[in-house]
């Protein structure tokens, strides 16, 4: 018995992505900037991949800049050397947004009990000095959707030149970004949350809005991101995105059903458990629950022993479990509960849910019994 419910950390590679990549590791190896025909093939493949990402995000092909992943895309969008008070970010942003923003003296917008950033709360902070506003499309811990199109409209009404960025890394598998992110100037996306490979991502930026590049020297990506592209990775990324565009409606319905089964099953079997956010507020694939009376570190240990892969709040570089700034910002007192994130994706089946429902409740019961007997 085993289950992989950590798609929000990294999703397994889709077979379509693997198949698409394989030739680019062997016979098709040329540098896409080379002028010979092999180079031209690689360049053509990159442009086709750009087309797929453009379609998925509602941008144009020329607006897609490939990067080394979500963190690079976020860092690039936030930019550097901005005066204090000119960046506005949500309190529950991924550290790849939050850290560079806070280091530059950003305003941090509070969230409500569901973790939602309200457009009015953002608008209150916007002035004609505002340079960048960044609010993620879907939160990586709770799966909550943010009203980013409304936020973009509210910001642009006050400061038309301000750049509105959204970390859409977790949104890409679930939302139609061409509508959900309408009016947004920059989006960060990445391959490995959607069944593509790790180490490849993109930032899509409206023409003329590109912040200063971080990597220079070589002119790739139209001077927006220097360095030879990860051709195979980009092709795998695009293949995964194409596959998830193709099966979106079927996949969303299936995963919604599986996630509901999971949540209902856990709620039946574990006293006091509750979903951290309302179902209506989140994407189907991320189920975040708080389990009172235990802590997540020993719970994850027991689940791992049973080969159930999932996550708690956040893992720091050492691998230790740390407190969640997301739950803190939402006002959730996580001190006496185990936050648990079970995230589903394209490969999740009923068998995964069966395993999770067989593994989690006994582990929780064991920790609750143990805590009673030792304290």
């Amino acid at each position: 018995m085993s289950a992989y419910l950590d798609h929000a950390a990294s999703s397994p590679l889709r077979p379509e992505a693997l198949d698409a990549m394989l030739p680019w590791f062997s016979e098709q190896h040329a540098n896409p900037t080379a002028s010979h025909r092999r180079g031209r093939r690689a360049r053509q493949a990159l442009d086709e991949a750009r087309g797929v990402l453009a379609e998925a995000t509602g941008f144009t092909r020329g607006e897609v800049v490939f990067t080394g992943g979500g963190t690079e895309s976020d860092n690039l969008a936030i930019g550097r050397g901005r005066p204090a008070g000119t960046i506005i970010v949500g309190a529950t942003e991924h550290p790849a947004v939050l850290e560079p923003a806070v280091r530059q003296g950003a305003h941090v917008v509070p969230v409500d009990r569901n973790g939602i950033v309200h457009p009015e709360a953002v608008a209150e902070l916007v002035t004609d000095e505002t340079q960048v506003v960044s609010v993620m499309a879907v939160n990586n811990e709770t799966g909550v959707e943010q009203p980013i199109a409304d936020i973009a409209a509210a910001v642009h009404a006050i400061a038309p030149e301000a750049l509105v960025h959204s970390d859409a890394v977790q949104a890409l598998p679930w939302l139609d970004l061409s509508t959900a992110a309408a009016g947004v100037d920059m989006l960060s996306i990445t391959g490995h949350k959607i069944g593509g490979p790790q180490g490849v991502g993109a930032v899509v930026v409206r023409d003329g809005k590109m912040p200063d590049p971080m990597l220079v020297g070589g002119g790739q990506e139209r001077d927006r991101r220097a360095g030879t592209q990860n051709v195979a990775g980009i092709i795998g990324f695009a293949a995964a995105v194409q596959a998830s565009l193709d099966d979106r409606s079927e996949r969303l319905a299936r995963i919604d059903r599986l996630a509901t089964r999971l949540l209902d099953g856990l709620t039946d079997q574990i006293d006091g458990i509750h979903p951290t956010v309302d179902r209506a507020a989140r994407v189907p694939g991320i189920v975040h629950i708080c389990i009172p009376g235990i802590t997540s570190e020993p719970l994850l240990f027991l689940l791992d022993e049973q080969s159930l892969a999932c996550s708690a709040a956040s893992s720091c570089a050492s691998g230790a479990q740390g407190a969640s700034h997301v739950l803190d910002a939402m006002g959730v007192d996580a001190s006496a509960t185990a936050p648990l994130r079970l995230s589903l994706g394209w490969s999740t089946t009923d068998a995964d849910i069966d395993s999770a429902l067989a593994i989690i409740p006994p582990a929780v019961a064991r920790l609750r019994d143990g805590n009673r007997s030792t304290t």
Binding site: P298, A317, S318, G319, A320, R366, L367, G370, N371, T374
Partner: protein, 357 residues
């Protein structure tokens, strides 16, 4: 069924060999690094690179490795009391409090809840089983490394379920063993002193950053002012170095620290001598004890003969006053002289311990 053992792996050589020996002895072993301190540290203790080392060694041994974050508890039970004890003029031993509250309490309980039969650590000490079936914390065979002092508080329940695989090793042989096994940590330097205090900053910087150190004056026993100290809280009874007083006819030691008035009194060695030392919070390996014992007052100090009474030890020979806050550990026998490599009596074990007042 194979016994399951959760072994604490700090990322140092001692616990690496401890884990290797357990695997070899056929236990079902899982390694854990406790993340205790997130601040600055010379040893890199609890740093990402230490955890990486432990993880690498676990991989070499083909065992699973996890990280337990006890940072909050370490702060609450070790760092805060360390600061508070200094503030009230005591001399704390944070390693003892860490063993008492973290490694042999939280970690021990966590292991039990997770279904492990035993825990193990890379401490230099052994656990003896007496004829009546009870257990005692016994000295390591390496007198230079012996850590029975900082483990004195373990009671029967813990002693019955702890393994100390390297208690029968001396350090040079252990390093050679790590080398022979090709363990990544074989050449890593020993950790020194208090893991959360840097050598450069010292206690002064650490405590200074955590709320006021008070300058004080140094006076002789007859009340003559002869110098000053930057931080009264950091002066320890018995201290000789760092006082910067000159013109004295004989060596001077701190004989009293008055925190209320920020006065440090110094005097000759004879003024430092005491016939007895009071204590509080006694703990016992098995049963409460009064009677003749050998009492050690620092991690690698000498154990002196004394009579243990209900709330004090009465020294057979006058000895230097002991700073409040230090642990007194009661042993059943005299060890060999400290700092020699002569073997320690096989049945030299801890009876109990307490905190000097």
């Amino acid at each position: 069924m194979t016994e399951r053992v959760l072994v604490g792996m700090s990322g140092g050589v001692d616990s690496s060999v401890a884990a290797a020996l357990l695997v070899e002895q056929g236990f079902d072993v899982v390694g854990v690094t406790m993340k205790l301190w997130g601040g600055e540290s010379d040893s890199g203790c609890c740093s990402v690179s230490d955890v990486d080392d432990a993880r690498w060694v676990a991989n070499q041994l083909d065992i699973e490795h996890h990280v337990f974050n006890f940072g909050e508890e370490f702060n609450e039970h070790v760092v805060s009391p360390f600061v508070d004890t200094h503030r009230t003029g005591g001399t704390p031993n944070p390693c003892i409090e860490c063993n008492r509250h973290i490694k042999f309490d939280l970690f021990f309980e966590r292991a039990a809840v997770l279904g492990f039969d035993r825990i193990a650590t890379g401490h230099y000490a052994r656990i003896a089983t007496l004829d009546d079936g009870t257990f005692r914390m016994q000295r390591s065979i390496d007198p230079l490394k012996d850590q029975s002092y900082v483990l004195h508080m373990l009671g029967q329940d813990v002693l019955s379920r702890v393994l100390l695989p390297i208690g029968g090793w001396n350090k040079p042989e252990l390093r050679a063993e790590a080398e022979r096994r090709g363990l990544l940590t074989a050449g890593k330097p020993d950790s020194q002193d208090v893991c959360f205090i840097t050598k450069d900053g010292g206690r002064e910087e650490f405590l200074g950053a955590r709320g006021g150190l008070t300058p004080g004056v140094i006076v002789t026993e007859d009340g003559r002012e002869v110098g000053a100290v930057p931080a009264t809280e950091l002066v320890t009874i018995g201290q000789r170095k760092g006082l910067n007083v000159s013109g004295m006819s004989e060596p001077q030691f701190v004989v009293d620290v008055n925190l209320q008035e920020s006065i440090v009194t110094i005097g000759p060695r004879r003024s430092l001598q005491d016939t007895e030392t009071g204590f509080t919070q006694p703990v016992w390996a098995h049963e409460p004890f009064t009677g003749e014992a050998f009492v050690q007052a620092s991690a690698h100090g000498t154990a002196f003969p004394a009579t243990v009474e209900l709330d004090r030890v009465v020294w057979h020979n006058n000895r230097d006053r002991i700073a409040p806050g230090q642990s007194l550990v009661f042993y059943n026998e005299r060890p060999t002289a400290s700092g020699t490599s002569a073997p320690i009596p096989e049945n030299n074990y801890v009876i109990g311990g307490a905190i000097a007042t």
